[in-house]
Amino acid sequence: MSEHLLQPVPQTRREFLSRLGGGFGTVALGALAAEEAQGASPESLAPLAPRPPHHPARAKRIILLWMQGGPSQADLFDFKPRLLKDAGEKIPFELAEDGTRYKEISRLLPPVGEFQRAGQSGLSISKLFPHLATKADELCVLRGMQTDSPAHPGAIRLFQTGSLQFVRPSFGSWVTYGLGTENQNLPGFVVISPVIFGDDGSPLHYNNVFLPAAHQGTRIGLASIPVKQSKIGHLGDPNLAVDLQRRQLDLIQARNRRDLSAVGGDRNMEGFIESYELAFRMQMQAPEVLDIERESETTRQLYGIGTDPTDNYGRKCLMARRMIESGVRFVQVTDWAWDHHNSIRSTLPKSCAQIDRPITGLLTDLKQRGLLEDTLVVWTGEFGRTPYDQDLSNGKSGMDTRGRDHNPHCWTMWMAGAGVRPGFVYGETDEWAYKAVDGKVHVHDLHATLLHLLGLDHKRLTFRYSGRDFRLTDVFGNVRTEFLA
C-alpha cells in the first residue's frame, strides 16, 4: 500500500500548528491556548491545565534526585568524631527494635571518607563530593529525617506515595493534580530510570491510583538500562502528515467517547481518552526536549556527559533540566546505587563519583538560567544507614568487606533552590548519627512542606474517592517553616 502518498511530517512546532490551523483538529490549538492562559481551566476539560495554587507559590516545579537504597548520612553529611574515635568498638548505645539483633555482633564503623568544611556556611561535607562541596552555600541540609520502616519496600512507598502499606497516588501525581502543568505538550510528571521490578520497585510508585489517569507518572527508561539506550518509542509517524494524523485521531476519539457514553462514568476510560491527546501533543515537543545532543559541548561537560563514570547520571540530569525548562511540573531522576550493605569503603566512593559532577552541574546550570529561582531540587533516599557495621561474612572477612544496614531513625537529605534557606543545616543527631535528637522531620512533614512551597495546602489538596476524602499526608503532616527562606 502506498504510504508514501502521505505527506511528510513538518519539522517545526510553528509549522505543525499552522497546518493544524487550517485542518481538522482543534484540541491542539486549545492546548496552546491553555498553555498561554495563566488562569484555571475546568479540570474535566483538561486535567493537566495549569491551576492556581491555594496560596502564592515559592516553587513552581520540583526535581527529585532520588537516591534509592539509602545514602549513608554518617559518611556524607553528618560527621561524627566519636565514630572515628571509637571505630571497631562494640555498640555503646541502646538499639531500637529493628537493630537489636546487631547488639553483640556489630562494631562501630568509621566514616568512609574524610570530611571538610565547605563554603561560607562551613557545611560539613564528605570529600567524596568535591564538586557538590562548591555549592555548600546553596544547600539546605536536613539531618533529622524520619521514616516508619527499616525495609526498602515500605520506606520507598512511604516516600513516593505517603503510605507505608496501601496503594495510594504518587507524590508527583498529587502535585500535578493540584497544579496541573505548564506545558500541555508534555506529561506533567516524568520519572527517569525508575526501579519498577522486584521488591523495591513497582509501577505503582508512580501511579495515579484513584486520581485521574492523566496524573500517572510517565516513565522513561529503567534503572537497569543506561539512559542512553532509553527512549520514548513511537514518537511520531514519519509517513503521515500531522493534520491527517489529527484526523485519524479525531476518528478514534469520537468512537472512544461514544463507547464511554454507552456505559456511563468510567475513570479508566476517561484516562484512556485523555492520554491520546497528550500523546498526540507530545509528538511535537518531546523529541526535541529529550534530545540532549542539542546542548552545547560546554553544557554537556558541565554534567559530566561523555566521560566515565558520570555519563549516565549526567544525561539523566540534563534531560531533567530540559524538561523542567519546558514546563514539566515534576521530574524524578533515579539512581539506585545506594544500598551499601557490604564493602561500603570501596562502593560508596563509586556511587558518589557517579553523581557528584552531574548534580553539581545541574545546580550550576539551573542557576545560570535563572531556573533555580522557582525550581526546587530535592536530593534524598528512603532512609539512612547505621553507624555500626553489618558483617555479612560472619567474621570471616576483613573490615573492608563490611557495610552498613538500613536506618529509619535519621538520615540526611538536602534541597536547593526555590523557597528553602541556602547554606543552612537543620536538625541534629546523636553522637553516632544513629538517631535524630533535634529538628526531626518526618516524611509526612516533608510532603506537607514541599506542597506548601508549591503553593498547596496539604490539608486542602484532597480527592474524594469511595466516600472518603484522601490526601497525600493522610491524617499526618505539619508544614515546617524552620528551614524555609
Binding site: 500500500m1 504510504e3 502518498l5 502521505l6 505527506q7 481538522f24 527494635e97 529493628d98 539483633r101 516508619d148 520502616s149 515500605g154 502499606q165 521490578f197 522486584g198 521488591d199 523495591d200 509501577p203 501511579n207 510517565t218 516513565r219 537497569s224 520514548i232 518509542g233 513511537h234 514518537l235 509517524d237 502528515a241 491527517l244 494524523q245 485519524q248 476518528l251 478514534i252 468512537r255 472512544n256 461514544r258 463507547d259 464511554l260 456505559v263 456511563g264 462514568g265 476510560m269 484512556f272 481518552i273 492520554s275 491520546y276 497528550l278 500523546a279 498526540f280 507530545m282 539506585w336 544500598d339 550493605h341 557490604n342 555479612l392 561474612s393 560472619n394 570471616k396 474517592y465 466516600g467
Partner: protein, 821 residues
C-alpha cells in the same frame, strides 16, 4: 541489586508490628507473660479493628508499643502518677464521655486484666517475642466448610448458587444487579476470557441464530474444549511461576528447553489435569509413577516449575547462591499455592503471619535436598537438566544429529584454519613488500583485509556452532540430591551462621493434616505436594478458586490474590469463596468445571452499564452489580489484532528462542540482547509462544512491556493495567499496528466488494457487531476528509486502500476494541 540485599530487605518488616510468633522461646518474665496472655489478646480482639494497622481512629494505634505510648489525638493513654485517672482506664470503665469499646463494655475478666495491667504500670514489653496467633483466628486459616446457599428476596434473578451469594450480599446493602449484557457482548466476553481471542464472524452468526435455551452453555463447552483454552489459561498460570526462556540477572543466558515447561502447562490446562496432580507434577514430577517413557518425560518437564527462575547463577559464592535459590523457591511455593509471603521468615519469624523461622527452614530442607542447578553454562553453574528415556531409534536419531554436527564443526574449523593461514601468509607478504609498487601493495592490503574479515567470520561461526552442540532430548528439571538432609536455621539469614537443624516439614499454621510424614530418603517434595492438596489444608483450594475468579471478573473475591495472610485484604464474599472452594474439591478439582459454573452464572453475564444510584453505594463494584470493563492484556491485544488481520499463525508449541549466530553473543556465559531479531514466523505466533526474556523484553515485543505484561521474576496473580501516553503513541505509530491494519485492509478489499460491506465485515470481526448507520456515515466522512489531504497522483484504488488501512488501525486503537466489555 545483590542477593544479600534482597534477603535483607525482604527480611526486615515494618517497625513495631504485632502478631509475632516466638521461635526458640526463652521463658518470659511473668510481667511479659501476663501482657501476652491477658492483655494483648484483648487489645487485638476488642480494639484493633479501629485502632490497628489499617485504621487508626483518633490517630491511635493499639497494636504496637510505639502507638500505645504515643497515644492519640486526645493525648497519652496512661498517667503513670495516677493510673486510675488515665484516659484508657477511664474509657474502659466508661466513666466519662469516652466509652470504649463503643458498642458494649468489656467482659468483666478482660476489664479486670486491663485494669490490673494499667495499675501495675502498663508495661508493654519491648522485645519482639509476642503472641501465637492461633491458626483459627485469621479467616483464611480456618477450615473450609461448605456454606448453605443464602436466601434471597428476588428469587427469580439467580440462575444458580453463585448468583444467590452475589445477590444476597447486594440485598444486604439495598442494591440490585444491573441489566444483562446483550448476546453479542456476552459472546465476545466469554470468548476473550476463555480463549484470549475474538469470536469469528461465523461463531457469532451461529450463536446469534441459536435460539435453544442452552445455546450459551454450548458455546462455553466449545471454548473449554478448544486448544486456545490452554493457551489462555496456561499463560495465566505462567504469570504465577518464574518461567522465562532465559536465566536471570544481568546475563540473559538462553535456556534452550524452557519452552517445554510452557507447553506442558498449556497441555495440562487443555487436559484439565486435576489440580492435585497438576501441583504434584510441578513439585515432584520426577518422583511420580509413570506408565511409559512419554509420561515420564512429561512429568520431568513439569518440574521446570522449580528450576526455571530468576536465580543469580553467575556468582562465586555457591552456598549463598544455593540458599538464595531455596529462598526464591519457598517464596514461589508460598505465594503461588498458599497465598502466603513465606519468604519473609528467612531471617526472623514472619512479622505478620504465623510463620516462624523454624517452618521456613523445614521447607528449606526440602528444597536444599532438591537439585536445581547442575552442569555448567559458559564456565558458570547451569540449570539442572534431566534427559528423557529414549527408545533405540531415538538414540540412533540423536547420534545421527551429533555426527552431523561434528562433521560441520570439522568443516568450519578447516575453513577457519585455511583462512587464517592465508591471512598470515598475506600479512607476511605485506610486511615484506616495502620495495614493491604502490599499486601492488594496495591490492595486497585490500586482499588481506578481505581475508582477515572472512577468517574472523569463520571463527565466529565456529564458536557459535560449538555453542549449539546438540543435547540429548531432555528438559530443565528438578531431581533429588544424593543425600537428602534437613537444613539448619541460618541465623539472621546468614548462610554461614548456622543454628539448630530443623526436620523437613510443612507450615504449622495449617494445623494437623492427614499428609504423610517425609521419608528420610527423599527430599520431601512429593509429600509437600500431597500436603498442599490434602483435604484439611484450608488455603490451597481457596487461593486457586480465587485466582480463577479474578481472571473472570477482574477482581478477586480476595483482591490480593497472592496474599491471603493477615496483611492481605479480606474477602468481599467469604461464603461464596468457601462455596467455590469446597465445590471445586468435591467435583474432583476440575478447573474446567469451576470455570463453567462461574461463566454460566447470571452475574458473569451482567452488562457493564453504570447505574448512578447503585454506584453511589458501591462505587468500586465490589458487590458485582455490573460487569467490570477491563483493558485487554497485552497478549489478547496482540493476538486479536493478528487474528482479525488474518496473520495469526495458530500452530501450537515448540521452541521459539531466536538462537542464531546473529543474536547469540558468545561469551561466558553466552547471552541474548534486546535487539535480537525475531523471525517473521515467530512474530505471527500467539503471544504465549513468544520467547520471554527476564529483565527487559526483546525490542520487537515492546507491546508486551507497554501493556503491562507480567514480570517473569515475580508471582503476578493480578496484572496492573496502566494508562499512559506511551501506549497511545504505540497505538498511533507502531509499525505493528500499522502493518497489521494494512494487511487487514488488503484482505477486506479482496474479500468484500463495496466499502459498506468492508466496513461492516470489519465491525463484525473486530468488534463482534454489525456496523451501524452512524458507523458507516462516520466512515464516509473520514474517507472524504482523509482522501482530501492526500498528495495528488495516486490511483483511486491506492487511495481507497490507504484510507481503509488507516480506518482499520483506528478501530484497533479504539476502546471498543481494546476493552473487554
Amino acid at each position: 541489586m545483590n542477593s544479600i540485599k534482597k534477603s535483607l530487605c525482604a527480611a526486615l518488616g515494618f517497625l513495631g508490628s504485632i502478631l509475632q510468633v516466638p521461635t526458640m522461646a526463652a521463658s518470659p518474665s511473668p510481667q511479659v507473660d501476663f501482657f501476652e496472655k491477658k492483655v494483648r489478646p484483648v487489645l487485638i480482639a476488642r480494639c484493633s479493628s479501629c485502632h490497628g494497622e489499617r485504621v487508626q481512629s483518633g490517630g491511635l494505634k493499639l497494636t504496637t508499643r510505639e502507638g500505645f505510648e504515643k497515644g492519640g489525638s486526645m493525648g497519652r493513654l496512661v498517667d503513670s502518677g495516677k493510673p486510675d485517672a488515665g484516659l484508657l482506664n477511664r474509657a474502659i470503665h466508661r466513666g466519662g464521655s469516652l466509652k470504649m469499646p463503643p458498642a458494649a463494655p468489656l467482659p468483666p475478666d478482660e476489664l479486670e486484666a486491663l485494669t490490673r495491667w494499667i495499675r501495675s504500670g502498663a508495661v508493654w514489653p519491648s522485645a519482639a517475642p509476642a503472641v501465637h496467633l492461633p491458626p483459627g483466628e485469621h479467616w483464611a486459616f480456618r477450615r473450609i466448610r461448605r456454606p448453605a446457599t443464602p436466601p434471597v428476596r428476588t428469587g427469580a434473578w439467580p440462575k444458580g448458587s453463585v448468583d444467590r451469594f452475589i445477590l444476597a450480599a447486594q440485598e444486604k446493602v439495598g442494591i440490585r444487579p444491573g441489566s444483562d449484557a446483550g448476546r453479542e457482548t456476552l459472546l465476545r466476553r466469554v470468548t476473550l476470557d476463555l480463549s484470549g481471542l475474538l469470536p469469528t464472524p461465523e461463531e457469532s452468526r451461529e450463536f446469534l441464530a441459536d435460539r435453544r435455551p442452552d445455546a450459551f452453555s454450548r458455546v462455553v463447552d466449545r471454548l473449554l474444549q478448544a486448544p486456545a483454552f490452554g493457551e489462555r489459561w496456561g499463560r495465566h498460570w505462567l504469570d504465577i511461576t518464574y518461567w522465562a526462556d532465559t536465566t536471570g540477572y544481568a546475563r540473559r543466558a538462553p535456556l534452550r528447553d524452557a519452552w517445554r515447561f510452557r507447553d506442558w502447562v498449556i497441555s495440562a490446562f487443555n487436559r484439565d489435569l486435576p489440580y492435585p496432580e497438576f501441583v504434584a507434577a510441578q513439585l515432584a514430577g520426577d518422583l511420580l509413577h509413570a506408565a511409559n517413557g512419554r509420561e515420564k518425560a512429561e512429568n520431568v518437564v513439569a518440574t521446570g516449575f522449580l528450576v526455571l527462575g530468576p536465580w543469580a547463577l553467575f556468582v562465586p559464592d555457591k552456598e549463598q547462591m544455593r540458599m538464595d535459590i531455596v529462598d526464591l523457591q519457598i517464596d514461589l511455593v508460598g505465594r503461588t499455592f498458599l497465598g502466603l509471603t513465606t519468604g519473609c521468615a528467612r531471617c526472623h519469624d514472619h512479622k505478620f503471619d504465623p510463620i516462624p523461622t523454624r517452618d521456613y527452614y523445614a521447607l528449606a530442607g526440602i528444597f536444599r535436598s532438591t537439585r536445581t542447578t547442575g552442569g555448567q553454562m559458559g564456565g558458570w553453574t547451569g540449570v539442572n537438566r534431566a534427559e528423557f528415556p529414549q527408545t533405540e531409534s531415538e538414540r540412533k536419531e540423536f547420534q545421527r544429529q551429533v555426527d552431523a554436527w561434528q562433521a560441520e564443526v570439522r568443516r568450519l574449523e578447516g575453513e577457519q584454519a585455511r583462512l587464517e593461514a592465508e591471512r598470515d601468509a598475506l600479512r607476511m607478504k605485506v610486511q615484506t613488500a616495502s620495495g614493491q609498487a604502490a599499486e601492488a601493495t594496495s591490492r595486497m592490503r585490500s586482499q588481506l583485509e578481505q581475508v582477515t574479515r572472512a577468517a574472523a567470520a569463520a571463527a565466529k561461526s565456529a564458536k557459535f556452532l560449538a555453542y549449539m552442540k546438540p543435547e540429548p532430548p531432555g528438559a530443565h528439571a528438578a531431581s533429588e540430591e544424593e543425600k537428602p538432609s534437613d537444613a539448619a536455621i541460618n541465623l539472621r539469614g546468614n548462610v554461614r551462621a548456622l543454628g539448630p537443624v530443623v526436620p523437613r516439614g510443612f507450615l504449622q499454621l495449617v494445623g494437623k493434616t492427614a499428609a504423610a510424614p517425609i521419608s528420610p530418603a527423599s527430599s520431601g517434595r512429593l509429600e509437600l505436594a500431597r500436603w498442599l492438596c490434602s483435604a484439611d489444608n484450608p488455603l490451597t483450594a481457596r487461593v486457586y478458586v480465587n485466582r480463577v475468579w479474578e481472571k473472570l471478573f477482574g477482581v478477586g473475591i480476595v483482591p490480593t490474590t497472592d496474599n491471603f495472610g493477615i496483611r492481605g485484604e479480606t474477602p468481599s464474599h467469604p461464603e461464596l469463596l468457601d462455596y467455590l472452594a469446597s465445590r471445586f474439591v468435591d467435583e474432583g478439582w476440575s478447573t474446567k468445571r469451576l470455570i463453567r459454573e462461574i461463566v454460566l452464572s447470571r452475574t458473569y453475564g451482567l452488562s457493564a452499564e453504570n447505574q448512578s444510584a447503585t454506584a453511589a453505594v458501591d462505587p468500586d463494584n465490589r458487590l458485582l452489580w455490573r460487569a467490570n470493563r477491563r483493558r485487554l492484556e497485552a497478549e489478547a491485544i496482540r493476538d486479536s489484532i493478528l487474528q482479525v488481520s488474518g496473520h495469526l499463525d495458530r500452530s501450537a508449541g515448540g521452541p521459539t528462542l531466536p538462537l542464531t549466530e546473529e543474536n547469540v553473543f558468545i561469551n561466558t556465559p553466552s547471552f541474548l540482547e534486546d535487539a535480537s531479531k525475531l523471525p517473521e514466523s515467530t512474530l505471527a505466533r500467539r503471544s504465549v509462544y513468544l520467547p520471554i526474556m527476564r529483565g527487559s523484553q526483546f525490542d520487537a515485543l515492546d507491546i508486551l512491556s507497554l501493556f503491562d505484561f507480567a514480570d517473569p521474576d515475580q508471582v503476578v496473580g493480578t496484572r496492573i493495567a496502566t494508562t499512559v501516553p506511551l501506549q497511545s503513541l504505540y497505538l498511533l505509530n507502531s509499525p505493528f499496528l500499522q502493518g497489521e491494519a494494512r494487511r487487514l485492509a488488503k484482505r477486506l478489499i479482496e474479500q468484500h466488494s463495496g466499502e459498506e460491506a468492508r466496513v461492516d465485515a470489519l465491525h463484525r470481526f473486530a468488534l463482534g457487531r454489525a456496523a451501524t448507520g452512524e458507523d458507516l456515515a462516520e466512515f464516509r466522512t473520514f474517507r472524504r476528509e482523509f482522501e482530501g489531504g492526500l498528495a495528488p497522483g495516486a490511483t483511486a484504488e491506492e487511495r481507497a486502500g490507504l484510507v481503509l488501512a488507516r480506518y482499520c488501525q483506528s478501530i484497533f486503537a479504539s476502546s471498543e476494541f481494546l476493552y473487554r466489555h
